[in-house]
């Protein structure tokens, strides 16, 4: 996902790098499995609870398996005022699942999220790290085609 923390030698990983290490593990395997959490706890000298506590705190970290692509539609007020509901409905129809679910083929996970800072292009959504704004239900199908 990023170059951050890449210089960190695995042998000298420290507790202070926990969030960075979780972000990296997530970008490698798509989510943070119980095993990953236990291994990280072991190597950093932390309790499993502490690592789980961090892993479950942040909305961009996931403790359950996710699809190859994660759709996050903004549900905050500025997008709501611009009919974000029709976008949510459009994505639901397009990929056949509800927010909080993953498609059977593992291609998409679908989530609702809080303000993504694209209110000038509301309604907006993120697919992975890409922001898509000024959405209409008609645009959804074409946008999602690019994510395999």
């Amino acid at each position: 996902m990023s170059k951050i923390g890449e210089g960190t030698n695995p042998q000298s990983q420290e507790k202070r790098d926990l969030l960075v290490l979780l972000e990296r593990a997530q970008s490698r395997s798509g989510y943070l499995s119980k095993r990953t959490i236990a291994e990280l706890a072991e190597s950093l000298g932390l309790s499993i609870g502490e690592v789980y506590g961090v892993a479950s705190f942040y909305s961009f970290l996931s403790i359950k398996p996710q699809g190859r692509n994660v759709i996050r539609i903004c549900k905050s007020l500025p997008c709501y005022l611009k009919n974000a509901q029709t976008i949510i409905e459009g994505v639901r129809k397009e990929i056949g699942i509800n927010p909080g679910e993953t498609t059977a083929d593992g291609r998409f996970s679908f989530e609702l999220t809080n303000c993504i800072g694209a209110c000038d292009k509301a309604p907006a959504m993120m697919v992975n790290d890409d922001v898509h704004g000024d959405l209409t239900p008609k645009k959804i199908s074409k946008i999602l085609q690019a994510y395999k």
Binding site: S59, G117, C119
Partner: protein, 398 residues
């Protein structure tokens, strides 16, 4: 007062990927000037300018720097808060997209002034797409020899509104859950890893090179008595032209939402994001300043067709979801308020609910550990004050 581009002076003018285009426009001149001066003199200049924090709290920037400068510590840190998570705010995104160099220069001056040789930019996860651009800007500044005194590292958030709060942000950089800390001690004496730390918003740091170059007097010549300079606003909602606008502080809300963003039939405007004040449409002549209303500059406009109770209900649901959960007044208070507002939005409010909302608000404002819980009741109480009729109409008739 018309638009005035001070912070945004380079946006759309320079090439954000090319440091040479920034240097052509007096880029890094302020840093060169600052590096020739003792740190305390730079701090004094910022103090004299009257610059206050642009992230919402409005703390005097120079005073913060002075505290950190004077604090004892073998290591000190500068943190740039780029965790712009406030609902309706996107001005820092616009700044980072268009002029990352001014930010790097501002951070570099802050490092020199306070005696820090390590800086972090805490970038929200949602702005991951800006990471490359920012890293490039830092690398180019470094290559040009501007960052010999300071190492700047970017840390990415992982999706948590509360991490925009400075103590939660520090815990997040330390690799922990982004939970709020008890204060005192305050960051300038005991911050990141217990060391003296200053935390400034992106926009605050953008002002620094301007002030150093043009002087405190020039800066202090703009604005009101206690609100100097300009402010960058993010305007969204029911407006024809949503976007980023920079105005001299003290300009009216009307100029911003009606004259610039072209709003019509305004019922209310929320200024400052989810925990911001709600200003009814007949009070648009209210000036935008620290003395009146400001926050981080999120301005969300609601036209006459909107149901204000629905809006406040959604806002409290958001705050309940994003409460870090560490203190009871915020964790329980936001949930309880959201529950009551849900009843009202369904037309099932109870007479006593109005009293309960007031009691919850008092406790939350007094006893919450950070701004999230302390300010969460503001939209509720403002809507009760200005739109009481909407509540009364939704009390269940039995």
């Amino acid at each position: 007062m018309p638009e005035k581009r001070v912070v945004l002076a380079n946006c759309g003018v320079i090439d954000p990927e090319d440091v040479a285009s920034y240097i052509e426009r007096d880029g890094f001149k302020a840093l060169k000037k600052a590096l020739k001066l003792p740190g305390e003199q730079v701090v004094e200049e910022i103090k004299a300018s009257g610059l206050r924090g642009r992230g919402g709290a409005g703390f005097p920037c120079g005073l913060k720097w002075d505290l950190a400068r004077k604090a004892q510590g073998d290591e000190k840190y500068v943190i740039c808060n780029a965790d712009e998570g406030e609902v309706g705010t996107f001005k820092d995104r616009y700044i980072l997209e268009n002029d990352p160099f001014s930010l790097v220069e501002g951070i570099a001056i802050a490092g020199h002034a306070t005696g820090a040789n390590k800086a972090y930019i805490y970038l929200r996860a949602e702005y991951h797409f800006l990471l490359d651009l920012l890293e490039k800007a830092i690398a180019q500044a470094k290559k040009k020899g501007f960052l010999k005194h300071l190492d700047i590292e970017i840390r990415q958030g992982a999706g948590a509104y509360v991490c925009g709060e400075e103590s939660a942000l520090m815990d997040s950089i330390e690799g922990k859950r982004g939970e709020v800390r008890y204060r005192p001690p305050f960051p300038p004496t005991k911050g990141l890893w217990g060391k003296p730390t200053i935390i400034n918003n992106v926009e605050t740091l953008m002002n620094i090179p301007r002030i150093v170059l043009k002087g405190a007097k020039w800066f202090g010549g703009m604005g009101t008595e206690r609100s100097k300079g300009t402010k960058v606003f993010s305007v969204s909602g029911d407006v024809a032209k949503p976007g980023v606008y920079e105005l001299v502080l003290g300009s009216s809300l009307k100029e911003l939402v009606e004259d610039l963003a072209l709003a019509k039939k305004v019922q209310a405007v929320q200024v400052g994001g989810a925990t911001g004040r709600i200003i009814p449409g007949d009070m648009l002549d209210t000036p935008l300043s620290f003395e009146t209303i400001l926050g981080a500059g999120a301005v969300t406009v609601f036209n006459e067709s909107r149901d204000m109770i629905d809006i406040v209900h959604r806002t409290l649901e958001f705050l309940a979801e994003e409460s870090c959960g560490k203190c009871a007044p915020c964790r329980e208070g936001t949930e309880a308020m959201a529950g009551i507002l849900e009843r009202f939005s369904k037309g099932e409010g109870l007479e006593k609910d109005i009293t309960v909302l007031g009691e919850l608000a008092d406790t939350m404002m007094l006893a919450s550990m950070c701004g999230l819980g302390q300010a969460a009741p503001i939209p509720v109480m403002d809507s009760l004050q200005h739109f009481r009729g909407a509540y009364d109409n939704r009390i269940r008739q039995s």
